[in-house]
């Protein structure tokens, strides 16, 4: 068990807003509408709202776990389940975060390969990204949080671009509201709730907040902002594409950017993909940071050593995923695991910890 980080390594509580928001917004914003529309059709936006509310509850539980445990999840696991089972759970959790890292990296490379450079080799781009992640990583946790702020600043102007497609919006595509059965809307919400994942990283970075309890409020605000971003994204896509078309479009947001037409820039999507690097870079950095932090807690491996191994692993793993169908299957599998982690594992730990603390008090 490590000592808690020293004061100069911590960040202010309000930065939780940026961390949560930028972790939740990632590569999947470009493609999420399709899954939703397959389930809930034009009522997909209701699914987003429901999933948003569910996210607030799970985020609250996540913070309760860490606030009560007063440390990161590795230590809480050890307290609750002992050295071996607790250690195993931590190992599983960081394996999950590592898979997320590989998935995000591969998905972004896929976007570049499909949209910009079909000749780009996967390992080459993975290598470039790995170097970039490494450079930010060596800057430390505070630098990565700075990157989150930067990513937030870049998301806002990209969102404004949603106004362009609205010129050819059809309001009738949204009507009638609640055409789909509650079951369909809920299954859309299930798909969506996974897309809101990313805040699990709090389980690892909680000790790095000055006054962690105050960070909770900001984190909730961040999650609310994320929900509104996704809501705007899904509404614009629904208004712009006909339903049959949206189900077929793999990256609706990128296709929307094709409409954006500045006098000086005919095809915005190329600029958009490049800017998007900064939106998903914090995701990559913080996920791998959480993994190395977990490994340090478990095996006392230096973070700067383990990251080299992990990045190599990520480069090799991502070059084994060769085509788009594999990527989509891979991400569908991860989505199932994410759903389990968010809606079974976190509530379970929360309840278990609650009971465990009650029992201990009574002793």
């Amino acid at each position: 068990m490590l000592p808690l980080p020293s004061e100069d390594k911590k960040v202010s509580p309000y930065l939780a807003f940026y961390i949560i928001n930028s972790m939740q917004i990632g590569i999947v914003v470009l493609s999420f509408e399709r899954f939703l529309v397959k389930e809930a059709g034009q009522d997909a936006w209701i699914s987003v709202l429901i999933a948003g509310v569910a996210t607030h509850i799970i985020l609250w539980m996540t913070f309760q776990i860490t606030i009560k445990g007063e440390n990161d999840i590795a230590v809480i696991h050890k307290d609750l389940f002992g050295k071996w089972i607790g250690g195993l759970l931590t190992l599983l959790l960081i394996t999950y975060l590592m898979t997320l890292f590989i998935m995000i990296m591969r998905a972004y490379i896929d976007v570049i390969q499909v949209w910009m450079f079909p000749h780009l080799q996967t390992w080459y781009m993975a290598f470039v990204l790995a170097i970039l992640v490494y450079l930010y990583f060596t800057g430390g946790f505070r630098v990565m949080v700075g990157l989150c702020v930067l990513s937030f600043m870049l998301t806002i102007p990209l969102l404004m671009l949603k106004a362009f497609p609205l010129k050819s919006a059809h309001l009738s595509y949204l009507l009638p509201v609640m055409e789909h059965s509650p079951a369909e809307i809920l299954s859309g919400a299930k798909k969506m709730s996974v897309i809101f994942s990313g805040f699990e990283v709090v389980l690892f970075c909680y000790p790095f907040f000055k006054q962690g309890i105050r960070a909770h409020k900001w984190a909730q605000l961040g999650a609310a902002f994320t929900t509104s971003v996704y809501l705007a994204a899904v509404l614009v896509s629904l208004l712009y594409f006909s339903e049959g078309q949206l189900e077929k479009t793999l990256w609706p947001t990128l296709t929307l950017w094709k409409i954006v037409d500045f006098p000086f820039l005919e095809r915005f999507e190329y600029a958009g993909i490049a800017i998007w690097l900064f939106v998903m870079l914090p995701n990559l950095c913080l996920y791998i940071w959480a993994v190395t932090r977990g490994l340090k807690q478990l095996f006392s491996i230096k973070q700067k050593k383990s990251i080299l191994f992990l990045l190599l692993l990520a480069i090799i793993a991502s070059s084994f995923i060769t085509d788009g169908v594999q990527i989509r299957n891979f991400s569908a599998t991860i989505d199932r695991i994410s759903f389990f982690i968010l809606f079974a594992y976190i509530p379970f730990i929360y309840l278990y910890q609650w009971i465990w603390q009650k029992v201990r008090k009574n002793k």
């Binding site: 499909v114 949209w115 910009m116 450079f117 000749h119 780009l120 080799q121 080459y124 290598f127 470039v128 170097i131 050819s168 059809h170 009738s172 595509y173 949204l174 009507l175 009638p176 055409e179 712009y240 594409f241 006909s242 339903e243 049959g244 078309q245 077929k248 296709t255 094709k258 409409i259 037409d261 005919e266 095809r267 999507e269």
Partner: protein, 358 residues
């Protein structure tokens, strides 16, 4: 020293493995317009206009074109490359033309390819050509120096005042969406000019019929709000032309989901431009012209809707509007329902002024 060596190795790996295809402006030839003609069975003939910019200062582009035939868009594209001096690039493709014969047999194989590729924009203009697209794309036009510029300006700037705005996106979304059928401008090469003939109507992916220029204008009035163009009406024994200042359209759906009633409310605001021999100095006389205008437009609009229903193409997107009105609308029965749906048209006209003379 060791870290230095590591970074040098990394740099070497990155430099040596860089193999992304480059498009340098001086070394490529940009395709700006492309046309497809029907040949036989499943063969198409593609023609591209790719203006060639010779070296030197203040040079004017030369109209260059390539023609080849094949089964798919991209195999045809490779054929063009066999003759081209430079690498052909399609990033600034602005107009896609389809020959009427090909359109009659379905355009999905053309638009699917353009909807799938990332290399062209989404607001690329599509049009149907009566006659050969090869002829249209290889002719010289005395009124324009650069053919592809002429074509794209015609589609983007000129005819939007008379025809509804269309493009690759609207075509794809109408083709794949429920209760709407696509339509495109119909062009023809005539007297050394490219001529806008009217609207080509599609049933799903197949061309079925066309609307004349005048019908196309009424169609635009029923399809979207707009504010350009001229209405010409016959008034007593002379003609009056009224400039359209504002035209608004609104759809109301009533009835039941098995017997829907569609009411189209159109409100027109205009300004009298030509009124030779018609004194328009009293409110009453202007009112008379308004009534006549209303009557004529209504007649034309009803005829147009009747025509669309008879040929079974829902170009106005009535199906989509009906679907959005009724909860759990039965989509499968719409096809048979459409020709007999009751469509009422209500037109309100208003002449705002008559110019600077009475």
């Amino acid at each position: 020293m060791r870290t230095f060596l590591i970074w040098v190795t990394i740099a070497i790996i990155l430099v040596l493995n860089y193999n992304i295809e480059r498009y340098v402006l001086e070394d490529i030839q940009i395709i700006t317009a492309i046309g497809y003609d029907y040949m036989e069975d499943d063969t198409m003939r593609g023609t591209v206009a790719a203006p060639f910019y010779p070296q030197g200062q203040d040079v004017k582009p030369i109209n260059a074109s390539f023609t080849a035939s094949g089964h798919t868009i991209h195999s045809i594209r490779q054929q063009f490359q066999r003759e081209a001096q430079r690498k052909l690039a399609s990033g600034r493709l602005q107009s896609i033309l389809v020959n009427k014969d090909l359109a009659e047999r379905g355009v999905k194989k053309v638009v699917d390819s353009f909807g799938r590729t990332t290399f062209i924009g989404r607001d690329t203009k599509l049009a149907v050509v009566d006659g050969s697209t090869k002829k249209l794309l290889t002719s010289n036009y005395p009124n324009a120096q650069n053919l592809s510029r002429y074509l794209s300006d015609l589609l983007e700037e000129s005819i939007v005042r008379m025809a509804p705005n269309t493009g690759l996106h609207s075509f794809l979304s109408q083709m794949e969406g429920f209760g709407q059928d696509p339509f495109l401008p119909l062009l023809k090469r005539e007297h050394d000019h490219i001529h806008y003939v009217g609207l080509a109507l599609f049933k799903d992916e197949k061309y079925v019929d066309s609307l004349s220029f005048r019908e196309g204008y009424i169609f635009k009035m029923l399809y979207e709000n707009f504010k350009y163009g001229i209405y010409e009406i016959k008034y007593k024994d002379t003609y009056i032309s009224i400039e359209n200042l504002r035209s608004k359209v609104k759809y109301n759906i009533s009835g039941s989901s098995t017997r829907p009633v569609v009411t189209i409310h159109v409100s027109l605001e205009g300004k009298v431009q030509d009124a030779y021999g018609v004194p328009l100095h009293t409110q009453k006389r202007i009112r008379k012209v308004e009534v006549e205008w209303e009557k004529e437009t209504l007649e034309k609009a009803e005829k147009l809707v009747r025509k669309l229903q008879d040929i079974g193409t829902d170009s106005l997107g009535i199906g989509e509007k009906v679907r959005s009105h009724f909860r759990h609308f039965n989509k499968s029965s719409w096809e048979s329902l459409y020709p007999d749906v009751q469509v009422r048209i209500k037109i309100k006209t208003n002449i705002i002024n008559t110019g600077i003379v009475e």
